[in-house]
């Protein structure tokens, strides 16, 4: 410890400030990742043991601030307040990322366990830290692997408790949100199609396969395999695109047709 250089000491301080970790823990993390911040952060957040007990008390205080007066949960009002405090719109997709970290079961409510566990996982024990973490949380959406996890998580989170499938309106809302981040040119057509032709709930399989479709099939459908195992809804979507001449001879038309 005494042998730390000036730069390293600075890094140590910064690390402790950002993560709220103790000196010992910060040192461990930085040393293990060769005094690189990125690696150190990753390490820190993926090892729950590194977090100190002191964090928990602060987090509990936060929980109590937002918890509903009648139920031991944070409900819609509490969440509104929280969003206000951290200066984030409740509709902002970053809240989805937050929910993901919390492993929240349903949207618009957090259990005590979820809230505390989530904040710990994100290394947050104060509102300041929360605000500071927001850009990082947003950036997680750009990671391919994490986006997939968040996307898959979103299904279970957005659907009604006890239902197996997701209501269409909710699904469309989620898709709009998610594909604003990860741009998919066909998302509007997809939503139109669902409302015009399907009008029923969305199954989990369809939900997760859609991401696969958006990722692997090019918007002009040139590499779409009609004999593949795509969910039938996606097959029907392709038919719809061809029928309504949105896709013409393998090219995505510049303008929309409303048939």
């Amino acid at each position: 410890m005494n042998k730390l250089g000036r730069g390293q000491r600075d890094k140590l301080q910064q690390f402790m400030l950002i993560t709220g970790a103790s000196e010992k823990v910060a040192f461990q993390a930085l040393k293990a990742s060769d005094w690189q911040f990125e690696g150190a952060f990753d390490l820190f957040y993926s090892h729950p043991q590194l977090r100190s007990v002191a964090d928990t008390r602060h987090i509990e205080e936060l929980y109590n601030r937002y918890k509903d007066p009648y139920v031991d949960m944070i409900m819609a009002d509490g969440i509104s307040l929280l969003c206000n405090d951290i200066q984030v719109d409740p509709q902002d997709i970053v809240m989805l990322v937050v929910s993901w970290h919390m492993k929240a079961a349903t949207m618009c409510e957090f259990s005590k366990k979820e809230f505390i566990g989530g904040l710990q996982a994100m290394g947050i024990d104060s509102l300041d830290k929360f605000r500071e973490r927001i850009p990082f949380l947003r950036s997680e959406l750009r990671d391919e692997q994490k986006f997939r996890e968040i996307y898959d998580f979103a299904f279970g989170w957005a659907k009604e408790k006890g239902q197996k499938s997701l209501a269409l309106d909710t699904a469309i809302g989620m898709w709009q949100l998610l594909f604003a981040e990860k741009h998919w040119p066909l998302v509007d057509h997809w939503c139109e199609f669902l409302q015009a032709r399907h009008n029923k709930v969305i199954s989990r399989d369809t939900w997760s396969q859609l991401l696969e479709f958006a990722r692997t099939v090019d918007p002009a459908l040139s590499n779409y395999d009609p004999d593949g195992a795509w969910p039938y809804l996606i097959d029907e979507f392709v038919e719809y695109l061809n029928e309504t001449s949105i896709i013409q001879k393998g090219k995505l038309s510049e303008w929309n047709y409303k048939s």
Partner: protein, 744 residues
Amino acid sequence: MAMSQRSTIDFNQGWQFMQNGITKLKNILEGTPETQFSSEEHIMLYTTIYNMCTQKPPHDYSQQLYDKYKESFQEYITSTVLPSLKEKHDEFMLRELVKRWQNHKVMVRWLSRFFCYLDRYFIARRSLPALQEVGLTCFRNLVYQDANGQVRDAVISLIDQEREGEQIDRALLKNVLDIFVEIGMGLMDCYENDFEDAMLRDTAAYYSRKASNWIVDDSCPDYMMKAESCLKREKERVSHYLHSSSETKLLEKVQHELLFVYATQLLEKEHSGCHALLRDDKVDDLSRMYRLFSKIPRGLDPVANIFKQHVTAEGTALVKQAEDAVSSKKVDKKDVIGLQEQIFVRKVIELHDKFMAYVNDCFLNHTLFHKALKDAFEVFCNKGVAGSSSAELLATFCDNILKKGGSEKLSDEAIEETLEKVVKLLAYISDKDLFAEFYRKKLARRLLFDKSANDDHERSILTKLKQQCGGQFTSKMEGMVTDLTLARENQTHFEEYLAHNSNASPGIDLTVTVLTTGFWPSYKSFDLNLPSEMVKCVEVFREFYQTKTKHRKLTWIYSLGTCNINGKFESKAIELVVTTYQAAALLLFNASDKLSYHEIMAQLNLSDEDVVRLLHSLSCAKYKILNKEPSTKTISPTDVFEFNGKFTDKMRRIKIPLPPVDEKKKVIEDVDKDRRYAIDASIVRIMKSRKVLGYQQLVMECVEQLGRMFKPDVKAIKKRIEDLITRDYLERDKDNPNLFKYLA
């Protein structure tokens, strides 16, 4: 001279003696007057050789004698035989050759007898060619070698002449060709190389020329007849003078030039090709076509193809005909299968008979043609007519045959035959499960309304269906037929029970048919408000039934019952045969004179649909038992009804039919539902045994498994797979979304 004392024979002396013998032989052959060899002369000649060979060296002359033997032939051939051949040509040359060859063979035979001793020891010891061989080789080298070309050409020329219809000397040709064979001395190479090859080439060229003319000038049947007779004649040619080994090669060449080369042109000839022959039912020509084309490689494939196209076209035309006939007639009830559709089925059966006869007779039961027929029928048999599927059409057709007074008034044998044929047609229909369901529905009506004409026929067709489609297909239907038999027994017991229990009295004659639920189609049972007369019946029967079994529940289906009611009309009483629903409605008028639509509906507790139907049958149809205000042609909820006392008819007993509700939609719905279960079960079965399977493979196996009953739609299978994923039977593999895993 005494034989015991042998003095050494000098070579020249000995040879001179031999030479005399040889000269004598030559004279005989030439026809010069000579006496035949006596046995003494024979022995002398033989002995001379013997002696000269067994003398002590240097007087053993075996080698020289061997050489002299050979020279004898060479000399004779060169001096006499060759000149005589060279001065002749063509047929004369051939004759001369034959003669010379015969002579030569005789010469060889005789000389080798004389020189026989050489064969025994000298030749054997020195491994030299035998005397026979030497002799024949001389002829081959000196005569055959040079002459065979000419000979060959002469023979071929004669063959071609015979082909053109001229008479030729067949025996001569046989003899000549025997030379080619014999000169090979055990091998066929001389015959094949020096004669056969050229003959085959010539044959090919000959028929190629002929064919190129015939194909332009002749119709297909004429051409085929010529081809057939050519093949016949060539075959005869082989037996007349060619060597038997030539037969296959010769015929193959002819077939190639006449048939293989021109196969397509022949078949596709505009007005006489395969299509035309089929169209004009030219059975003989088609048989000939089969015979000829079966000989060339892949020759039957195009024929079978044209056959398939023809059958498909004919069948499709029938479909169109039926469609047109139906749409041109004004049909009130579009969902009822009418006469045109029945005619259609008949015609399809006839078509099948006709073309099956072709397959059996013209095409000698060849599998290619069986398949062509099957493929063709599968194409058009699955097209419905006027909105009714082929499955429904077939089921209705059967119903008409099997019901009383059906449109088919045929002898028992004819009925059996027709049923047999219908079942055969079923093999071509992909929606067999749909047929089963329609058939079952109609069977139920026949059985319950006593409309079945003949029990034996009913059982017989079930047996045939079972043979064709398996036991599962017919198990429910068989159950239904058995139920009826049991029901009759049951009724007898019921009547006995009534006789022995005076307090159990229904008040009216009651017949009850008890059905086993699983076998029969599902019927909705409405809670009809029974007239009081009938309520007692139900109770009495229920009590009786309790005495037989306590574990079963009776559900009454009033919609299927019939009732005989006495109508006391003003002029006379008439017995009305109606359904239970209609009877219930009529009995209401015993208590009230006038009843409105709503009152009737309320009292009967039936649905609008049922009430409209039954009131229509009683007031707007043929027999107006009730008067309706206003007396329009349709029932409306504001109508009022009253008993029509003035009704009469010349008959004492009339049947007032209640048209059945359209079952078609329900049947199709039921079948679709069953199919969904069947697809689910099939997918689960497959995945359970394979554990992990790719999408394409899964679909393929599913289609195969279910193919016996219906052709599952790939989209439907996909939907079921997704449903099973949602129900946690299956999951997609995380890395490969085209792969599915079974979740135990």
